[in-house]
Symmetry: C2
Subunit: 275 residues, 2 copies
């Protein structure tokens, strides 16, 4: 049943080939590297996969907590598919990894939101877990020395890429490291084919490189975190994670899946993600 949940999640049955490959590869990369640190996914099966009454909205969820020796608090993979009343569909795939308070290194957030074959929104960030204004050394260690910005710059050069601003200012605030990639990609001229090309030739390598930096320099970082700082991290992480779930999923899940299913799933996610 554990394997079933994982394989269901890894099917990504509704997204395009290159999008599916990208998600599967990044998930495997994370899974391979963290394998020994993660507990099995213990979600009930009706939360691993769920849908609304008519089946027009479906989603898969894969959540694994880190074990006692790991700096990883939790890894969340998910996909969501919803047929839109207008005829198209909304597809969201995401891979999020939160660290625990034994370290202050950044988290990993990777989300693709697609509402048509020629439009997507990409959020790819290592959100800081401290106030960067107060900690220039932290900025240097995780954002400057790792050359993270080169990947943002590479993507920015594509003419189809535009900045994306979430309508929620709190979401903007959370995913706002100085190297955050928050973009809208539109391929009106080249159509769906050009979008496939951009995903395969650009998003794919960039996402893997950013994930690689997170695995090499954040998960593996040896950080000294004192007692007081630990309490600060817990408070800040708790707020950021709770708010991002509420703002991001809290408004859409009950609407897409009905209040009963939507709230049950939200509750399960919160239990895993809030300190």
């Amino acid at each position: 049943s554990l394997m079933e949940g994982r394989s269901k999640f890894l099917e990504f049955p509704f997204v395009s080939i290159s999008h599916e490959n990208l998600m599967r590869d990044t998930f495997s990369m994370l899974d391979n590297r963290l394998q020994s640190q993660l507990l099995p996914c213990s979600l009930p099966s009706d939360i691993q996969h769920f849908q609304n009454q008519t089946g027009s909205s479906q989603a898969s969820l894969h959540i694994r907590a880190g074990n006692n020796n790991s700096p990883v608090a939790v890894v969340l993979g998910s996909w969501l598919h919803s047929e839109l009343p207008t005829g198209g569909s909304l597809d969201i795939t995401s891979l999020i990894a939160y660290l625990n308070s034994s370290t202050d290194a950044p988290d990993f957030v990777f989300e693709i939101i697609r509402s048509s074959p020629t439009m997507l929104v990409l959020i790819l960030d290592l959100p800081a877990r401290k106030d960067l204004v107060l900690w220039p050394d932290y900025l240097k260690t995780f954002y400057e020395d790792t050359q993270l910005d080169t990947h943002r710059q590479a993507l920015e050069r594509l003419p189809e890429v535009q900045p994306y601003f979430s309508s929620s200012l709190y979401i903007r605030t959370i995913f706002s490291s100085p190297t955050a990639i928050t973009v809208r990609i539109q391929t009106e001229n080249g159509g769906a084919e050009r979008m496939e090309e951009i995903i395969r030739d650009h998003l794919d390598p960039i996402s893997k490189q950013v994930l690689g930096i997170w695995l090499d320099y954040c998960v593996s970082a040896k950080r000294e975190v004192g007692e007081e700082e630990r309490a600060c991290l817990k408070k800040r992480d708790g707020l950021a994670r709770k708010q991002s779930i509420e703002v991001d999923l809290g408004s859409s899940f009950p609407r897409l899946f009905g209040p009963e299913v939507g709230n049950r799933v939200l509750q399960a996610i919160k239990e895993y993600c809030t300190v």
Copy 2:
């Protein structure tokens, strides 16, 4: 001599008409509203206006500290003009207002960097003085309830407007409120005339509206700041202001004005701006 310094600063002798009007108007707006709260500019005359040996770089500086009853720590106006070896010139005009630790309300930063008649960079922000992830109420009060983002959105709609990313990640971090306007405007097709139009019809009203919000909702905000919080604000403000002067001016002033003049001016600015 006080009036002389002010009027020299207000001449803006090197920028275009609409740019000059914009700076003069916003400066007057600030000056009129804060007049009774500010001490006279006490800068020595060789720091109110200075240039390099050949006269190819010139600058004017106008700095007024807030009085004891004011939440304003300091107001800085400046312009800088430098002939470039390539033939063009670099013009920077800025208006910055820092609050003191009797309040935690946001600061005001407004800077225009122009390296050709058809290209400019605009930074217009009310930089937060607290970690917004930890203080959602602060975000709501100063950024959501004030509708600040509508002004960023209005500007974003112009086809000539693109996002701007400072090469310094620390500068990005400081001017990164969720409603920060950090854009590059290029008018290659419409030339210098179109740029004048954009400054007059868009930058002018937007800058005044943002300044108005700062005057009405930040300077005038009644905030309770406890002893401990005050110490936090002092530390954070001190770091942010010192770093922004060092990164922004510290590298260019000695180069543009020679080390002797450059460092003397830098020192004077630091004395006013760091806690």
